[in-house]
Symmetry: C2
Subunit: 327 residues, 2 copies
Amino acid sequence: MSELRKDPATNRWVITLDDKSFKPQTDSKLSGEIPEHDGACPFCTGNEDKTGKTIYSVNDMDGKWKVRVIPNNNPYLKVETQLKKHGVGIFDVISGTGANEVIIETGRHDMDFERFEPADIEDIFRTYRDRILDLRRDSRIEYILIFKNRGARAGAKTAHLHSQLMALPIVPEKVSEELKSSAQYYEFKGRCVYCDIIENELMLKDRVIKESEHFVTVAPFASQTPFETWIFPKDHAAHFHKLSNIELKEVAIALKDAVTRLNKALNHPSYNYMIHTAPIKEGDLEHYHWHIEILPRIKPVAGFEWGSGFFINPTLPEEAAAYMRKL
Amino acid sequence: MSELRKDPATNRWVITLDDKSFKPQTDSKLSGEIPEHDGACPFCTGNEDKTGKTIYSVNDMDGKWKVRVIPNNNPYLKVETQLKKHGVGIFDVISGTGANEVIIETGRHDMDFERFEPADIEDIFRTYRDRILDLRRDSRIEYILIFKNRGARAGAKTAHLHSQLMALPIVPEKVSEELKSSAQYYEFKGRCVYCDIIENELMLKDRVIKESEHFVTVAPFASQTPFETWIFPKDHAAHFHKLSNIELKEVAIALKDAVTRLNKALNHPSYNYMIHTAPIKEGDLEHYHWHIEILPRIKPVAGFEWGSGFFINPTLPEEAAAYMRKL
């Protein structure tokens, strides 16, 4: 039995099945042996001269870095580029103005969130927050996206744990769509759609994976991929960068918990996560609610998904959540 | 030097680079040795009893099938399912009503468009057209998507050449967006955006790969992936299924040409193609123009693309087109 499910926050449809024969794709590079140190890896401690200069770092008590932010080696966007919007015949072009930074999340080559202390992940999330607070002062920047590619199937070129930051001169299409749909919902209902989802899920419990005082981890109703996992702050807030220190502490615990469960459920899958947050120039929007979306990359994106923008998910989110809860 | 380019038909932004170091991912399963016949393959001639019953076929003069349409083995959507739209708490659900068919494009296991006669591809496209004409009589169907997954990276589970058809009870999100953006353009300019693109590209020539009397093959200005290739009918038409017999003949030649060039340029890459066409219940829309989009899958879709909906393309479409023209 299949059905079409709609995500009320984005109006995106998904075909969900209950296909017990589905086999997740694994990524040998993440589950195999990884050395603690790789002499050729520019992200490893001791190889700092192989990268651009440090933009920001979190250091331990001995003054050694634990988290280090560097410009992307071959950046897609540069702050030095003058912002220019122009037409080329019938087409529109904007200069590659912005920033593209790499957040190196540990000096060790073989680490994973699973083996971090929550305080280490807190340092990483504080770094995300501080980089946004710094970059948002540049008035040419319209949106700052923080994301992680983990494993080759998720687009990572190295096993060394890192995230990326893109500061963009426009608000990306998917974010605009999300804002538009949630504004529509707000106009109709007078409530934040994400607040409604959180309340609904906490009441029903069948898609809840983990709950803490300020956060809840769920398998979304219209999951695009098997074991898709979202982490929400319970209190309404549009901007990630305004999270409190208590929330910072708790989101780190929630993320470690989610990744550990995914690693167990899917044998260290490739995954992406993205911080969905309001555009930096927006105020405290009543209709938007920041959150983290984790997408295990265990199923290739095929032509149907490309052509239609909706996804076929062979695993019911209720079943994924029940499985994840038990781990 | 990077820039942001906008596709005027969809308002989708892409970051384009000129990165000579980019290495396309190949798919050994398509370039290696493939047997002419595979006893275990349900799509091979002689194994017809391994599939559901034939829905449609094109036969040769001896009565043997050349193209054969079957229901998907484990269909995502079924015509037998009663259409039901209902709410589940705050969520919306539609029953899995529709159709999911597989178009087996040859009885041989090892074939490729490159080695087909254009007349064989014409048979395949005639099959697409006839299946749409049949399925559109079901008033519950809102959209019919035809797409090909070729190679493992594009989501294909077999090397045996085939396409798929999905008849859906809703218009998919990406199609709605495309219709909305092109309607916006039409409202502003009073012209079809695709007609404008075709005229512009034929005038400039630098992104044109091939031109025939009724079709033109281009590398789109805001290509999402390296070597993305679009095939347009020159005459304005919203619906693929209304194409004339002359166009049918020519689109087959254009497709063989495009795939042959891609195979040469990228060593038999995985790719998806989708037929972009107006929803079947729409009339002859002035603002929409059917076309085929071919997406080589030589670069993984990473977190940035997922989170933002826009793409980073390391190869300039002008360079891709120049290279493809020469082959």
